[in-house]
Each structure stands twice: as structure tokens, then as C-alpha cells.
Amino acid sequence: MSLLEVSGLHVWFDPPSAAEVHAVQGVSFALDAGERFGLVGESGCGKTTTILALMGLLPPNASAAGEVLLDGQNILAGGEESVQAYRWKDIAMVFQGAMNALNPVKKIGWQIAEPMAYHGVAQGAAARQRAGELLEMVGIPAAAGERYPHEFSGGMRQRAAIAMALACEPKILLADEPTTALDVMVQAQILELLTRLCAELGLALILVTHDLPVVAQVCERAAVMYAGEIVETGSTDALYHTPRHPYTRLLFAATPDLYGQDAVISIPGAPPRLDVAGAGCPFRPRCDVPLPRCVDEHPELRLVEPAHQAACHRNELVGAS
């Protein structure tokens, strides 16, 4: 049994005076302790919504369905509010803009100690002591806990946000674009920190990003999302070297590489609307190798080789030949 098993997760948004948006459409994946897993895709593909559902932090106009098993317990069983007992304690999250995630009028140390008191992990002096230790662990002197967020640089704020997420010793850390607003050198520092924490604490990491090279450098496995679905999942090595979904292949081709020699090509078109249920493969209008059946037959995620799944009809042709 895996540490975390997500199966058939759906999320709908019900915007006022507009059609319902089916943002996450049956997402399933599993995560083991200490594993670093990437969730990759472009804006609007449902990657952030997926992890917000795991945290029970969806906005009020959203509804979620499906199964999220944490150590075998379905934490979504009582609706998304039932996640509350697990939030920060077992699953914690680092948000995209650390400046927005930190309270500007509270000292850093206080903010790290707060969830400990809330969840009964530690109180008072013990909590402050532990906050100092957490800061040291992420590479900030313990004394800096007496400072306010505006006195920190962008990289230090992101480190503090990671320390805050680790306050209640979670088993799983969700990181939503943790380095997107940061410079490359600071990005490297944060990615190195996350990798080290996974190894030292046995922490499982879900790294959500649009940046394929970041996932390639940090994660062992990843899932590529498109229009609310996982279209391919496997080892990052397999995704790059032997992609089995055209979207994965084209996304890598659209990403410039420092030493790459191949042409950088954009993917024509745009993702489909999620407020209209479409038949067939959601990627078909942008696909460079569509088949006739892609028009009305929706491809399911299937095993294409051990530990590698893709949702593309072309893989059945490969299997048949």
C-alpha cells in the first residue's frame, strides 16, 4: 500500500452565471514515502486544483469527489472539510508566492509555531524552540525567527514557508510552483533543499510546476496533466526519452534546452474549454498525429510498459503490431 493513493478525483467549479467547469476529471496516482513526484502541465490544466483538493483548500464554489487514501484512510470521505484533521499534520503545502503565504504583520518564528499549537504538537517555549530548529534546517539562522517577512529576501521567505509547512512533521509536502518567482540561483538552492529534506526526513514530495526541466532535475516520477486529466505518467526518464503521449513529446520540444540542438517548436492551438463536455481525445485538435477514432473515442490511461501509463490511442496500435 502506498502512502497516498488518489483515485478518480474530480473537481467541479460552479461559477455564478456560467456553466460548471469540470477542472479535474478523474485523476489517479499513488505516492510512496520519500518519493519525489512531479505534477506537470500548463496553466488551467488542473494541477493546482488537484493539490488544493488534497489539502481541502478548494474555494466554496468548488465540489470534489473521489477517493484520497492516506495510509489507507479516505480523507475525502466526509467531504473536503474532513481533510482538516490531516491538513498540516500529515499533508502540508508550500504556496507559489511565499510573500503572499506569510502574514506580513507577524514574526516569522511565531508563524512557524502557530500550526504546532493549533494541532497540539508543541506549545509556548517548546514550539518556539522547534521553530528555531526548523529555520536552521532550511538554512536560516534561528535568531531570524524574530524578524518579519519583509525583512527577508524572496529566497529566504520561500525557505521560511517550507519551515512552516514542516512544523507538524508532515509525511507529504505539496509544493505549488515553489521556485517560479525566484532567480535561477535561488531556485537551485530551494530545489536542493527540497531534495535534501525528502532524503533526510523521508518526506514525500509532490512538486507542481509548468517547468519540465525542474521536474526532470528533482523528481523520479511525474504525471503530465492536460485539460483536467493525467495524460501520461511514468519515470521522468521515460517521459523524456520515450514519451508515449504526443502532448508530452511536444511539450519537451517546446522547451528550450541550454545545450539542445533541436528546433524549439510551439504547440499550435489552445487547450479545450472545461465548461463544455467534449467527446474524444481532449488533445486531438492540437495533436500532430491524430487518428480517426480520436474524434469520438476518449482514450483512457493505460499501461504502455511497466510503471509507465499514457492516454493515447496510438499506443494500442504499437501493441498490436
Binding site: V184, H210, D211, L251, L258, S266
Partner: protein
């Protein structure tokens, strides 16, 4: 759209940047832009020294027509201030900015206005740079009204259509009456590019032109810029923090650190044969697409220091992994490194 994208650059373009026979399109010479630091009442009463942010501190380069140069560096290195100074949005403290041979560094607003047409800027965020209440037609025609070109309404529309087509929005007439919210990020950036193109500029400054766009459309916008400068006699100065993009699309790369260019040369030389320790470190931390290429990144500790107190000697020495005693004393100038394979390659390090 896919032809001619990010191909390896011919070596011939090196010459353009160094020994151009005719007047270069843009020549920046020893440019400095300092911002005064605001002093509070206490500082003023105690006569605390006036402090200045040395945002740009002695930058020189040339850009030829048809050339794309990338100014690369971390936030706070002065790359955006350099562009703003060239545009005249910020006054240069000293130095020269010669556009087609005319020094524009000290021109006032009125003298600058006719020249503005020849240099246009594309901003990072097309969600912010387009007026949400303007139709595409108005966004693209407004620059013509400001500069009094285009003549009749029909002529302006014709020019707008041509600019939109050049920017890859085809058929342009379908886009004329749309609002920004009806367009995707990539399309918005193309409208912003079209609004710059209607003035037929000589120099295009592009500040992180794709960093707000989705990965799948970035290449399209970049190759549009690539095509524009290859087909016309326009020069493009691209400001970016993304070395992979710079390596792929620019002829030359200048790496900035704390207000100075510390390394400069043909893109392939800077990326494949870096000479300055800062460039080497920066390149080592760029994530690669292939998980098998996980090299050990050479992570520099800390962040770029405050440009108010620029370190003495080599400004990189406090973070430099190979700094020696003399690096604290002597300020290195750009020169041809011994290990360079191109005569156009320069780096500012005492140890090379």
C-alpha cells in the same frame, strides 16, 4: 511557423557586434544609472551620507541591425534598468546611448519624442500592458495617433492589419474587434508586438517577452521575434533571466552582475565555453530537460548583494568560489580571456 526556429546561429553574426563597418544601430558606452536612496528625517538631520543605488554601473555594448542580443542576469543585476535608460524612461547618470549615431542619453522629453518611434518596448506581461477596455484595433492604432502617422482612418486600419499579420495573428481582420480578455496569453503578446511594429521601429527592447506565457506558446512568440529581426533591419535587445532561451535565440549574450556586464560574447561561446566564474555557476544551475543530465549544480550561497554597497575590487569576489586576495583590490575590466575560442568573447575576471 516551425521553420527556422532556434537553429544554431551562423558564426558570421559575431562580426556585426564587434567591428561593424557602418554606424551600429545602438551603441551604449560606459552607461551608468544611479538612483538616489530616499533618506528619512533622522538621516537628513544627522547628515547621514547620501546613498545611491548603482543600478547600472559602466555598461558598454553595441547592437547591429538584424541582430538579437540577450542581456541575462538575476533580478537586481540592472538588466531592466539598462533597457529603461535606453528608452529614456530613466535618465542616465553618465555615459552615452547612441541610436543610429545620435546620442540620446541626455535628451529631454520633447527632443526624445520623435525618436521614440524608432525604439519600442515589449513588456513582460501582456495581461497588464494592454488596456482591457481597448479593442485590438485601438491598441494597435493608438501608437499611430500618438505619432501622427497613418493619415486617414482607413489607412490606419490597413497598417494595423499589416502589423497584426506580421505579428502572426492571421487573418488579422478576425482579431481587430476583439478585447484582450477574448485572447490567449500568446495572442495578447502578439498584439503588443503588433502595436510596436506599426511604428516600424529600428530597435525593439523585449523585457522577458515570454516569461508570463505558457510553455507551449513561448516558442512561437520567440520565433516571431527571430523572424522579425531576420527579415527586417530591426535589432532586438532581449532582457531575460532564462539562459536556455538566450542560448537558443540570441546571437550574443551579455551576462550582467551588479550593474556590470561580466561576460559578453557569441551565444554559443558564452554557453559552451564560459569564462567568468559567475557565468559558470549560473549555467551549472540551469535545469536540463533530460533527467540523465543531472549535473551537480555549483550553487552560490546567498543572493546578489545590495547595489548600494558595491563590493570593492571585483564586485563578484564575496560570492566567487575561486577568488584570490587580489580580487578584493583590483576591479577587473572586460577583456579577451586566454581560454576564449572567439575573438568577440570578453569576460571581466582577473584570473582568466
Amino acid at each position: 511557423m516551425s521553420e527556422n526556429q532556434g537553429q544554431a546561429r551562423p558564426a558570421a553574426t559575431e562580426v556585426a557586434g564587434t567591428t561593424a563597418p557602418q554606424t551600429p544601430l545602438l551603441e551604449v558606452a560606459d552607461l551608468a544609472t544611479y538612483y538616489p536612496v530616499r533618506r528619512g528625517l533622522t538621516e537628513r538631520l544627522t547628515r547621514a551620507p547620501k546613498l545611491e543605488v548603482h543600478a547600472v554601473d559602466g555598461v558598454s555594448f553595441r547592437l547591429a541591425r538584424g541582430e538579437m542580443m540577450a542581456l541575462v542576469g538575476e533580478s537586481g543585476c540592472g538588466k531592466t534598468t539598462t533597457a529603461q535608460t535606453i528608452l529614456g524612461m530613466v535618465k542616465a547618470t553618465s555615459g552615452a546611448i547612441r541610436l543610429n549615431g545620435t546620442d540620446i542619453a541626455q535628451l529631454d522629453e520633447r527632443q526624445m519624442r520623435p525618436l521614440r518611434r524608432t525604439l519600442q518596448m515589449i513588456y513582460q506581461d501582456p495581461y497588464e500592458s494592454l488596456d482591457p477596455r481597448f479593442r485590438v484595433r485601438e491598441s494597435v492604432e493608438e501608437p499611430m495617433l500618438v505619432h501622427g502617422i497613418g493619415g486617414s482612418r482607413a489607412q490606419r486600419e490597413q497598417l494595423a492589419v499589416e502589423a497584426l499579420e506580421r505579428a502572426g495573428l492571421s487573418p488579422a481582420r478576425l482579431f481587430l474587434d476583439r478585447f484582450p480578455h477574448e485572447l490567449s496569453g500568446g495572442q495578447r503578446q502578439r498584439v503588443a508586438i503588433a502595436a510596436a511594429l506599426v511604428l516600424d521601429p529600428d530597435l525593439l527592447l523585449a523585457d522577458e517577452p515570454v516569461s508570463m506565457l505558457d510553455v507551449s506558446v513561448r516558442a512561437g512568440v520567440l520565433s516571431l521575434l527571430d523572424t522579425l529581426r531576420r527579415n527586417g533591419d530591426m535589432g532586438i535587445l532581449m532582457i531575460t533571466h532564462d539562459l536556455s532561451t538566450a542560448a537558443r535565440f540570441a546571437d550574443r549574450i551579455a551576462v550582467m552582475y551588479l550593474g556590470r556586464i561580466v561576460e559578453h560574447g557569441p551565444a554559443s561561446d558564452v554557453v559552451r565555453n564560459p569564462q567568468h566564474p559567475y557565468t559558470k555557476a549560473l549555467l551549472s544551475v540551469v535545469p536540463k530537460r533530460d533527467p540523465r543530465e543531472r549535473a551537480t549544480p555549483q550553487i552560490l550561497s546567498g543572493e546578489t548583494p545590495n547595489p548600494v554597497n558595491v563590493p570593492a575590487g571585483c564586485r563578484f569576489h564575496p560570492r566567487c568560489p575561486v577568488a584570490e586576495e587580489r580580487c578584493k583590490l583590483e576591479d577587473p575590466q572586460l577583456r579577451l580571456p586566454a581560454g576564449a575560442t572567439s575573438p568577440a568573447h570578453q569576460a571581466a575576471c582577473l584570473l582568466i
